[in-house]
Symmetry: C2
Subunit: 141 residues, 2 copies
C-alpha cells in the first residue's frame, strides 16, 4: 500500500504546481475534515500530524488552492475564513454557522433557487449563503 490517498499529489501536479510538503499535507488535512477549517484549525491539524509550516506558507498554500479551484473559502466566524475542498458535490451548498459552539456545518439540502432572479445586467460568479443560529446539538442542551 504505497499511498492511501494518491489523489493529493496527482491533483497538485495536474494543476501545474509543484508537489511540495505543504500542499500535500494541507490537502490531506482538508480531505479528511468533515467541516470547513480555518487557518488555525488547519495549522493545529498539521501540528498533530507532526508537520509545522510557517503561517505565511499556509496562507499562500491555501490561496493557491483556491485559485486553482481545488478549495473554496467561506466566511466563517468573526472575520476569519474557513476552507473546504471542492470535490464531490458541485460546491454549491449553504453553510450553517452555530452561534453557540461556533462550528460550521455543510447543509447539502439548502440550496436557494436564485437563478434568473438577479436584476438585468448582473452576472453571478459565486453565491455564498451562510445561515446563523443554533445547531441541533446545542439545541438539545
Amino acid at each position: 500500500m504505497p499511498d492511501t490517498r494518491p489523489s493529493a499529489r496527482e491533483l497538485i501536479a495536474a494543476h501545474g504546481g509543484r508537489v511540495t510538503r505543504a500542499r500535500v499535507a494541507v490537502l490531506e488535512v482538508l480531505g479528511s475534515a468533515h467541516t470547513p477549517l480555518s487557518h488555525e484549525g488547519i495549522a493545529s491539524a498539521l501540528e498533530e500530524g507532526g508537520e509545522t509550516f510557517d503561517r505565511v506558507t499556509l496562507y499562500r498554500t491555501l490561496e493557491w488552492l483556491v485559485e486553482q479551484g481545488i478549495a473554496t473559502r467561506i466566511a466563517g466566524s468573526e472575520r476569519a475564513w474557513n476552507f473546504e475542498l471542492v470535490d464531490r458535490h458541485g460546491h454549491h451548498h449553504a453553510h450553517f454557522h452555530c452561534q453557540r459552539c461556533g462550528r460550521v456545518t455543510c447543509m447539502e439540502e439548502v440550496a436557494p433557487a436564485l437563478a434568473g432572479a438577479l436584476p438585468p445586467g448582473f452576472s453571478l460568479a459565486q453565491a455564498e449563503l451562510v445561515l446563523h443560529g443554533a445547531c441541533a446539538e446545542c439545541n438539545r442542551s
Copy 2:
C-alpha cells in the same frame, strides 16, 4: 425647519441611549447611504461632513446600533463588516458584491425561501446571502 432628519435623535432616545454626537452622525451617514458601508467608509463620510471620531468610538457606536436592532452588519469584501440601517424592509434581502468595482448592492428581489429546509433540530436566527459576480455597470464596460 429645525431638523431635516428628526428621527435620528428620537430613535436613539427611544432605545434608552444617550444622544451623542457620534451616534447622531453615524445614523445620518447610514441613513443617507444607498449601500452598506464599512467602518472605513463611514469614517470617510464623517470626515467629509467635518466630524471626526476615534476609531474605537466608531466600533462601539456601531456595535451599539447593531445591539439595539437599529443596524445590521453583513459580511462585505475581504474580512471586514459592512453596516446598513434596518428600516423600511424587514432587513431580509440578499447582497450582491461586485468583484470588479467592489460595491455592494442590495437585492430586494432575491430572497431565498429556505424556511423548513433545515435539518431537524437546527434553529435559524439569521440568514446571510451574499452573491459575488459583476454588477450591471461593470458588465457594460
